[in-house]
């Protein structure tokens, strides 16, 4: 099992939602899940800090939500399908979230996709040249 989980760590820019991530991210992800209900979205928008207090998350997780720092949220156990519900609440598309996580403006990210996406070359392994 250890070997199975470790094998993914060589892949650059990628966090696999394994047992450990799921365990540390449980309350963060369940907060995201709560945003599936319209009344909860309204309560969150009205007072984000107060709403986040309803969930036993860590202070770092709460701050990452307030900062909309998606890479940090992923590092703290967030799963992208759950985190996307924060994006939806904010009225942003998946491509907008992708531009935030990759650190490029949205139009530039979209142009990369239209041109065929991020290529495998140099992006398969942390030991690829240039990584």
């Amino acid at each position: 099992m250890k070997h199975y989980n470790e094998a993914f760590k060589d892949i650059p820019g990628t966090t696999v939602f394994d047992a450990e991530q799921s365990r540390i991210g449980y309350h963060l992800n369940m907060f995201c899940m709560s945003l599936m209900k319209a009344e909860n979205r309204a309560a969150f928008k009205a007072d984000e800090r107060a709403y986040l207090e309803r969930f036993p998350m860590t202070p770092e997780q709460r701050q990452a939500v307030l900062d909309r720092d998606y890479n940090r949220m992923i590092g703290l156990g967030g799963n992208i399908y759950f985190l996307a519900k924060i994006g939806a609440t904010d009225g942003f598309s998946f491509q907008n979230l992708a531009s935030k996580m990759t650190g490029v403006p949205e139009d530039q990210y979209k142009a990369m996709m239209v041109a065929g996406g991020r290529p495998p070359k140099g992006n398969r392994s942390k030991s690829d040249p240039g990584k």
Binding site: Y4, N5, A7, F8, D10, I11, P12, G13, T14, T15, V16, F17, D18, A19, S22, Y26, N29, M30, C32, M33, L35, M36, R41, N71, I74, N79, I80, Y81, F82, A84, K85, A88, T89, S93, F94, Q95, L97, A98, M101, T102, G103, Y109, M112, M113, V114, G116, G117, R118, P119, P120, N123, R124, S125
Partner: protein, 280 residues
């Protein structure tokens, strides 16, 4: 007796559903995507399945982290389109086939697949986008649907080999159902894409093309691909491709490819679509 006549695989990108629902299919960005399904719509109208076993994954809609079934089979009379955070898609309610669904559940469990039986489940874009791509925008879906939700969110998901073998068990189940039914099996999700982190936007046309080739020619070879290779070569969400192997396992070894479509991009994703027919 019931029989499986054909298999369909397709990506199930939510933005594709939104483009259909918002009437954007003729926009230059979307046109090539929908053009790729014109043949398929004609094909399915000619082949008229009675039931589709629709293999898909839930995206934190019906299942949160409270309960995470590896294989969940929908045995209900009907399934509501899920509210994924911006209201449910304006598509018809999905009608199930409880008798066949229960039959498949019993048969596969006795074949040692520990299925989760679900009697209430909202279905998200993973299931409804493929229906829209194949049937357009009818007032009611012209087919009964047995949802088969596969966990590909929480690691570890099922192995490709497990999916392949489940497909074989589903075939055995369908063929022992005592009613003349034309059943199709669809595998959805994929192809290469990554939605998360600094590597988001990852696409691998070469891997996808090889995968499409081997789907007919060497499915046993595909069933051996380990999870880490999917993530490395097809992006973190490319792992959804294991679900295509359930479809493939339920078909003849000699199934014939009758149609293929591949396009980059739809939003963040490589669209892959293939139709395989069993020998009559």
């Amino acid at each position: 007796m019931a029989r499986i006549s054909a298999g369909v695989t397709t990506s199930h990108i939510p933005a594709v559903g939104a483009a259909i629902d918002l009437g954007k299919t003729h926009e230059p960005y979307w046109q090539p995507v929908f053009k790729g399904y014109e043949f398929s719509k004609r094909w399915i109208a000619e082949h008229k399945p009675d039931v589709v076993v629709l293999v898909y994954n839930d995206h934190a809609s019906a299942f949160s982290l409270e309960v995470i079934p590896t294989f969940a089979i929908g045995c209900a009379e009907s399934f509501q389109p899920a509210d994924e955070g911006w209201g449910p898609r304006p598509v018809p309610v999905v009608q199930g086939h409880p008798e066949l669904a229960w039959h498949i559940a019993q048969s596969t469990i006795l074949d040692e697949f520990d299925m989760t039986i679900v009697n209430r489940m909202d279905v998200d874009h993973g299931l409804t986008v493929p229906l829209s791509l194949m049937f357009g925008q009818p007032a009611a879906w012209p087919v009964k649907v047995i949802p088969l939700a596969v966990n590909v969110v929480q690691y570890p998901p099922p192995t490709g080999n497990r999916c392949w073998n489940l497909g074989r068990a589903i075939r055995k189940a369908v063929e022992s159902f005592d009613e003349d039914l034309n059943v199709m099996i669809w595998g959805t999700g994929g192809m290469s894409h990554q939605l998360q982190g600094p590597r988001a936007g990852f696409i691998n046309r070469e891997f996808d093309t090889r995968f499409l080739d081997k789907l007919t020619q060497d499915p046993e070879g595909l069933a051996k691909i380990p999870h880490v290779d999917y993530v490395r070569e097809a992006g973190s969400e490319g792992i959804e491709l294991v679900m295509w192997l359930i479809m493939r396992g339920a078909l003849d070894r000699q199934a014939r490819e009758v149609y293929r479509f591949y396009h980059v991009p739809a939003s963040n994703t490589a669209v892959g679509h293939i139709i395989l027919e069993n020998q009559a």
